[in-house]
């Protein structure tokens, strides 16, 4: 993944979560919607906040703050749900604010280093260094941890 990023220009949806600035690759982003009432799902994995009705479809909502272990704040007028595609399924991610869409030259993306302040570096694909600021590029494919995936596989086996 990093190798691909070295040469090509990437387009990112940049958002704020607590003190940090993050980015999703725009190719994975389906849409950005306003915060809405979330139906909690009991006994769901911890980072799952619940589900919403996304135009007639059930869309799970993930709270990255729980995943990244950053302080959870109340939703504000700026809060958004970024709907991304992870492993073929739409998942909504709660962010504090979406700030911009940014084109980034591949050589500005560096591998994750000690700069990262989040607790879990596995979900970081790279760090975008724009001189005056850093953007943490989130690797959506690892957003669901390996533990989660093991659970999926188990489920799929059970369903088969």
């Amino acid at each position: 993944m990093n190798q691909a990023g070295v040469s090509a220009e990437r387009q990112l949806v940049v958002f704020r979560l607590a003190q940090d600035v993050y980015g999703f690759d725009i190719q994975a982003v389906r849409e950005i919607i306003r915060m809405q009432e979330i139906t909690r799902v009991p006994n769901a994995p911890e980072q799952i906040e619940g589900v919403i009705n996304l135009r007639g479809r059930i869309c799970p909502i993930m709270d990255l703050r729980k995943r990244f272990d950053v302080a959870i704040s109340e939703a504000t007028a700026e809060s958004r749900i970024v709907v991304v595609e992870i492993a073929g399924e739409d998942v909504g991610v709660i962010v504090d604010a979406v700030t911009e869409v940014l084109r980034v030259p591949g050589d500005r993306i560096q591998p994750p280093s000690s700069v990262v302040t989040t607790a879990d570096t596995r979900v970081v694909e790279g760090i975008v260094n724009l001189g005056d600021r850093l953007i943490i590029l989130v690797d959506l494919n690892t957003l669901l941890t390996s533990d989660d995936r093991a659970v999926f596989q188990e489920m799929e086996l059970a369903a088969a």
Partner: protein, 687 residues
């Protein structure tokens, strides 16, 4: 080379059709055992075997062609009265079917491979051909007269035409060798003939022509008022036609050439050499093609559709159903706000119309997913026969209500439970002939499987007139295995004791047999049925037999649900679980060993407060309760508010969330709000 290079699509079609033929054979051969004199039935069986032989031979599946050839051989002897229908013959034929199924399994997985067919072949030959099976003569060229003769309807038509004095002509056209257009030319000829009269039959058939399964000849029988010369000229005018012969129908040629079908394996190898020469030589197996096609005619009016595609459509329609409700609600709101506004009135009319159409579409989609339950039932006569024969029982098996339609997803899921129940009925229910006679019952036991609709549900009933379930035996066994305590068992009513058969780990058979003891128990049966929002009930009378009743929803895509509110969320509970609803008066609630229970008219049941599963630890009012029944255990669910009942469209929570205990899925309500569907069975376990 054993098999020509076959593309996957072709193989898929072949396997699908072969499976249908096998299913047909399976049912018919079982019937034949009872109706040995049924000529039509025998003919149908023969034709199915012949079709299989033809299509497998055409694709170069030698083993399959050989096995079907031997079946055909034996059947032909039966047809000619040289062989009687005996249980041994039926066994041998059924054994061959198993061999074919095995072969098909390997074909599906890749190659015909090294499946050994010598056992079924030997069994067939031992019966059909006690002497030696020598080689046969060369196969005469197929003539359309023979094909027509095998088709009773066509013969009738021709006889009627001849009786009325009209003319019936046989047209034989040969195309120039190596034309790439034979299929097109053949089609042109058939079209040409159709414009001049009625084409009774053609060889190859129109289907085969369209599938380009054609050699260098075309034969057709037509009923026409036109003179033979004119017809000949018209056919000769088609490009690439080398020669045409037109003659009057000669009934004497329409005698089936029995000897032809009566050759042994030596000739078969010859068949295949011919086939392996490639498409140009395939004309010689036209007869096989024709018969394969004639089997297809019945299904001509249907279209196969990928189940996933159907499910995707169903999902879309499900969303439409939700939107319809929302549109109706918004229209109502607009009406009360802008009373008398013309645009709003138009909107209301349109909304009503769209709503009606969406409803029809929804019903239509549900219908499209339905299959007659006969598709499942038809697999059972074989099963019952096999079990009966291996246990020495005599069983008459009846089915009723095969036309009852049910969601195909439900059919898939009730197959194993039904197989288990049927095996049990024969193996444990029906007594041995001696025992039955001693009990004053007919030696042959009866097992009856019926399906019917009842108030939006399907009811499947399995009755046997066997010895019934011994309540005391079940009780003792349950105590011995530690499933219930002695005290509990002694307190149980007969019915409650019988219901213990659904408890896991209990088997009442004195010895576990190969047939019933396959690791799936009655507990699995009940769980499978309940997983479908269904109910399994047993009713038994000692010495008289047992009846198992399965009540199932027609479809898994929607169900009638009761909506309740707890804290801030709305939950849907399948109505099939709901026993009653009511106010949760504080005086009903008692505490036993730190657990809350409800004492409802003397019945003590656990109380589960739904608020505990919501993340917020808010203490809510919980003034109401819903009594749900899982298995035979009632539980009271405490909720804040009882809402209405409605049709609930089931949606999955998706892979990201996966399985959340106590939640079976989600649904979107008319106002756009999401309701979680309670999985009552697992919810209770969480309690």
């Amino acid at each position: 080379m054993d098999s020509a290079v076959i593309d996957q699509e072709e193989l898929k079609v072949f396997l699908q059709e072969a499976e249908e033929q096998l299913q047909l054979l399976d049912e018919d051969i079982i019937r034949l055992e009872k109706e040995a004199d049924n000529v039509d039935l025998l003919q149908e069986i023969f034709r199915a075997a012949h079709t299989l032989k033809g299509s497998s031979g055409m694709l170069g599946f030698r083993n399959m062609a050989e096995l079907t050839h031997h079946m055909e051989d034996a059947l032909d002897k039966v047809r000619k009265g040289a062989l009687a229908v005996t249980p041994e013959l039926v066994d041998a034929l059924l054994g061959s079917l198993d061999g074919l199924k095995d072969l098909m399994g390997h074909l599906g997985a890749g190659a015909e491979g090294d499946v050994d067919i010598s056992v079924p072949v030997a069994a067939l030959r031992a019966i059909a051909d006690p002497g030696s099976a020598g080689g046969g003569g060369a196969q005469p060229a197929a003539a359309i007269e023979a094909v027509v003769a095998a088709d009773a309807a066509a013969m009738e038509q021709i006889d009627a035409v001849l009786a009325s004095g009209a003319a019936c002509l046989v047209v034989r056209a040969t195309f120039v060798p190596d034309t790439a257009w034979s299929a097109v030319r053949a089609f042109q000829i058939v079209t040409e003939l159709s414009s001049r009269g009625e084409v009774v039959a053609s060889l190859p058939t129109l289907d085969d022509i369209q599938a380009e399964k054609i050699g260098t000849t075309l034969q057709a029988v037509i009923v026409t008022a036109q003179p033979a010369d004119e017809v000949r000229a018209a056919v000769a005018a088609v490009d690439d036609v080398q020669s045409v012969a037109v003659e009057a129908w000669d009934a004497s040629k329409a005698t089936p050439h029995e000897e032809r079908r009566h050759a042994a394996s030596g000739k078969l190898a010859e068949d295949q050499r011919v086939i392996d020469l490639g498409p140009a030589a395939r004309g010689k197996s036209e007869r096989e093609q024709l018969e394969a096609a004639s089997q297809k005619i019945e299904t001509l009016q249907t279209v196969r559709i990928d189940v996933d595609r159907l499910d995707a459509l169903m999902n879309l329609v499900g969303e439409l159903v939700i939107d319809r409700t929302r549109v109706a609600q918004i229209t109502k709101a607009l009406q009360s706000r802008y009373r008398g506004d013309e645009a709003v009135q138009s909107l209301e009319q349109i909304a009503a119309h769209v709503g009606k159409m969406v409803e029809d579409l929804h019903q239509g989609m549900l219908q499209a997913r339905m299959l007659p339950i006969g598709t499942l039932f038809s697999k059972f006569p074989r099963l019952v026969r096999d079990v009966a024969r291996s246990t020495g029982k005599q069983v008459e098996f009846f089915t009723e209500g095969e036309d009852t339609e049910i969601d195909r997803a439900v059919i898939e899921k009730i197959k194993d439970p039904l197989i288990h129940l049927l095996r049990n009925a024969v193996d444990h229910g029906i007594e041995l002939p001696d025992a039955r006679r001693a009990a004053g019952k007919p030696e042959t036991g009866t097992v009856k499987l019926t399906a019917s609709h009842d108030q939006g549900r399907i009811v499947i009933r399995l009755e046997d007139d066997g010895k019934g379930i011994d309540a005391r035996g079940v009780r003792e066994s349950a105590v011995r295995k530690g499933i219930v305590t002695r005290e509990a068992a002694d307190r149980m009513s007969e019915q409650e004791a019988v219901e213990l058969i659904f408890a896991s780990g209990l088997s009442t058979a004195a010895k576990t047999t190969d047939i019933s003891g396959r690791g799936v128990g009655m507990d699995v049966v009940r769980k499978s049925i309940e997983a479908l929002n269904g109910v399994a009930i047993v009713d038994t009378r000692a010495g008289r037999g047992s009846t198992f009743t399965l009540e199932l929803p027609l479809t898994l895509a929607t169900f009638r649900g009761l909506l309740v509110q707890s804290v801030n969320e709305v939950y849907a509970i399948p109505l099939s679980y709901v026993q009653e609803t009511g106010r949760l008066d504080p005086e009903l609630v008692q505490t036993i060993v730190d657990k809350e229970v409800v004492n409802l008219r003397g019945t003590i049941m656990p109380l589960f407060r739904l608020s505990v599963i919501s993340a917020d630890a808010v203490r809510s009012s919980e003034d109401f309760m819903v009594v749900v029944r899982v298995g035979d255990r009632p539980t009271a669910l405490a909720v804040d508010r009882l809402m209405d009942q409605q049709e609930v469209v089931v949606k999955s929570l998706g892979r990201t969330i996966g399985r959340a205990k106590g939640v079976a899925g989600a649904s979107i309500l008319g106002d756009g709000e999401v309701a979680l569907i309670l999985d009552v069975a697992t919810l209770m376990k969480a309690a």
